[in-house]
């Protein structure tokens, strides 16, 4: 067979490249070229709304330096760090909890799966509009609900500097947990029956089984879910655009939204390019690390 393939290769050595070329053109034009362009433009000062800086001027690493020495950028970095460090583990924990709960064969469990999964299908802008109401002071449903449990704290979540970022986190977690759940659900359903039976015969209680058997077996799923959760947390800012606009006073501003502001509000090409490069570096580093980690694990598993 591979001989057959080689034969058709020799005869059609150009054809496969023609078949791939549309994809290559799109990747070149909208992934590779913009990456190179960002690195290049990040070395120039250019601001469209100031006559003196309209023409790009080479400034070396100045854009990066001024970013890293700006108070706002520190705030944005801290927010992004908090946002990722909290939403990723919490939504993954919830996803696993959901999966364990709905992986039982109880009547009506299908409905529970739908109830937990549907936010995945809901556009983030729709979700954000609804949550905007939930977070409103006085009659917002969220506060009404918390009041039921004795909450008397600040009312305007999205407008409160101490709560705005948390509010955005809650929306992200609510939206993502059900999505990550289905990967765990698939993972659970692929668990080898025999191992679980062996554990039961050895007298392991459900909790022990969970910690010592199910978790380790789901490690690959967790690594995979962590990767998408991480990338999503950096990329999805629709709710921030709609509800807080990064405010109040940058309390809920994260990297991608700040990038948008730099380019479209301050029309600062140089700085926004520098930030683009930083964002690309973070995402690339993370995906490649995770890829290498999962490959190594696979090799180890195969070696055994």
């Amino acid at each position: 067979m591979s001989q057959e393939k080689t034969k058709s290769t020799l005869k059609n050595s150009i054809l496969p490249f023609i078949l791939i070329s549309p994809t290559i053109i799109i990747v070149a034009l909208f992934t590779v070229w913009p990456t190179i362009l960002s690195v290049y433009q990040s070395l120039f000062r250019q601001r469209l709304n100031m006559a003196e800086f309209r023409v790009p001027k080479f400034v070396g690493l100045q854009n990066y330096i001024s970013l890293f020495s700006s108070q706002t950028f520190h705030q944005v970095l801290l927010n992004t760090f908090l946002y990722v460090a909290i939403t990723v583990p919490v939504s993954i924990f919830l996803a696993l909890l959901f999966a364990l709960l709905v992986n039982r064969s109880v009547k009506g469990i299908g409905l529970a799966r739908l109830a937990l999964f549907y936010p995945t299908i809901l556009p983030m802008v729709s979700a954000a509009t609804i949550w905007m109401f939930f977070f409103t002071p006085e009659y917002g449903l969220f506060n009404t609900f918390l009041k039921f449990f004795g909450y008397r704290g600040p009312q305007d979540w999205a407008g409160n500097p101490h709560l705005a970022l948390l509010a955005m986190m809650i929306i992200f977690i609510w939206k993502s947990a059900g999505y990550f759940m289905i990967f765990y659900l698939a993972g659970l359903q692929n668990l080898p029956e025999s191992v679980l039976e062996a554990a039961a015969i050895d007298g392991a209680n459900p909790f022990q089984t969970l910690i010592h058997i199910i978790f380790p077996l789901l490690r690959r799923t967790t690594l995979f879910v962590t990767t998408i959760a991480f990338l999503d947390a950096f990329q999805i800012i629709d709710h921030i655009v709609i509800i807080t606009k990064g405010g109040p006073s940058d309390a809920s501003n994260i990297l991608l939204y700040y990038l948008w502001q730099l380019r479209f509000e301050y029309t600062d090409i140089g700085k926004s390019s520098a930030l683009t490069v930083i964002l690309i570096a973070i995402m690339l580093l993370f995906t490649i690390t995770n890829f290498v980690l999962s490959e190594r694990r696979e090799e180890k598993a195969n070696a055994k």
Binding site: S8, T120, P123, W174, I182
Partner: protein, 278 residues
Amino acid sequence: MQNRKIFKYLKSWILNAITVILSLLWLSVIVWAIVVSFRPANKPLGLGDVWLNGFTFENYLHAWSLAPFGIYYRNTIIVVLIILLFQLVTTILAGFAFAHYKIVGGRWVLFFILLQLMIPSTALLVPNYATIRILGLFNTKIAIALPYLGSAFGTFLMRQAFLEIPDDSIEAGILDGCSWWQLLLNVYIPPSVPTIIALSISSITWHWNEFLWPFVVTNSDASRVLTVGLVRFTQLGEQGAQWPLLAAATITVAAPLLIAFLIFQRRFIASYLYSGIK
């Protein structure tokens, strides 16, 4: 023995109760939006008053009269279909090339394409916006669709599906004298239909719901899609008293996918399982 039985019974009831509470919490968001969208304006909005105030289509009519949702719908459908059509053609052709031919430097070509997975397009918002400007495509539906006409993820997925095709059927096809495209149409595609459907569903949902990129490259109602239209709508400064109106607009944007999801749940969930690599 008796104790153990009671314990087991109790445990399953506690788990059921947790499941029900979480499901209701997660559902409350959409239930509230749907219920309020059908309620007369300027009535209490708590869940407790839900059934007291009657039922009306007014909010939907009002929302549609305030913003051109018909145009937004048309634009969204056009954009989603353009992307879907092109993605199917480009990913099937590229996936076929990778699976069927031994390409010189094929690993490097594949790696080049997979860069699209490692550097998400949202991070490239600024330079891609510049490219759209240079191409003279700003504020067009093509601009929204263009970066997505090829898909590394889809190519990879199609390649995997095509690699599963048994050698025997490919050899039989070649012996029958099939040309490459007959081979593709008759041997490779038919068994790969489930993958193609999964790819289509995730493409449609993803691009129906996308907001940031269309928001950046459009600036008039003529080319705005639903998500962007909704945001313009919420920013008209009519918040507060107008929640039923907003809820109606919100549901207007989300309804087609939610309904499709309710009908084809399994397919949707399966396609999202596939598309996790995105």
